[in-house]
Amino acid sequence: MIAVLGLIVGVVAGLVVRPVVPTLVEPYLPIAVVAALDAVFGGLRAMLDGIFDDKVFVVSFLSNVVVAALIVFLGDKLGVGAQLSTGVVVVLGIRIFSNAAAIRRHVFRA
């Protein structure tokens, strides 16, 4: 219950407060979003698999976002930011897809 409340509070806060994203962080926001989605889908699948663990979820979410942003940041500094963000998006995208497929199997049994 509290978890669902947290989800709603997060969305509402994002919409109402409209935090101004610092320009320094702005390039990493899309990657952070993809990483967050990956963590969320992973958590959802784990819940359906019955092996959900709150600590693992929070830690994996935070580390995903930070590492993804870090990789892109490093790539930017090295001059291969676009390529590295493509790589991050591809890997996370594959994970999101297969997690979503697993969730679909759980929900629809198909």
Binding site: I2, A3, L5, G6, L7, I8, V9, G10, V11, A13, G14, L15, R18, P19, V21, E26, L29, P30, A32, V33, A36, L37, A39, V40, G42, R45, A46, M47, D49, G50, I51, F52, D53, D54, K55, V56, F57, V58, V59, S60, F61, L62, V65, V91, I94, R95, F97, S98, N99, A102
Partner: protein, 279 residues
Amino acid sequence: MSLLNNAMNHSLDDGYAQAAARRGAEGQSGMPRTVRAKLGLAGGLVLAALVVTVGAAQARVSAPELAKERQELISRINEGDKRTDSLQRRVDGLRKDVEAKQRKALEKHGGDEAEVVGLLSGALPVHGQGIKLVVDDAKDTQDSDTGGPRQSSGFSDNGRVRDRDLQRVVNGLWESGAEAVSVNGQRLTSLSAIRAAGDAILVDNKPLVPPYTLLAVGPGQKLSTTFQDSADGQYLQVLKENYGVRTSISTQDDVRLPAAPSLIVRTAKPVQTGEGSRS
């Protein structure tokens, strides 16, 4: 491929499996039970939702931003264009000024013969008795009337008037006693060039469109006859008979020729009185 396989097979964080194994050993069940754990999960979810929402909001905010930037760039381009135009207009004005001054200077330094020098050099507009000679491409030449000189298939076909035809005609006019000549309103001077560039005939680097109207100031009927009897007149006649180039010549009581657009003296200097060589 193993990299992709790895990404596919380990789509779920390994941490979940390990945690489950640990819990299995301790005999607990999956979902968080304590309030603290629930709050932790809620905090994580808040963060996740926040990031995704902010990302979406940012994308929506930055879309008009991009459009605005684009608009700004466009307006800057337009501004630059306008500035270039005004500069170009200034250049044109100054050029005209310089031309007028040059013309005046030439008139002045002509001394007693100012008028004659001005007339013969093309610095002054002239009028007087003369002839009008119209030369045009043959009738069946492609596009000669519609597309202008640049769209047609070039000099490949024989009915077209070429630059050297025009050169011969102009030289013939000079030879026959013309005092001033213009082609399609372009006054010819001693430095004028009749050339071809691609498909077009250029006089002083300005492209001409057929028909080519040559105006020559000279002793009317005499000039006409002399020209037609000269070698170049004969040449024109040959062009007419063999290739269908259309020509017509007529004497005029009063032809008006403009001044040459620019009289540029590049290296010549007027001879100073006293030190000039008298060879």
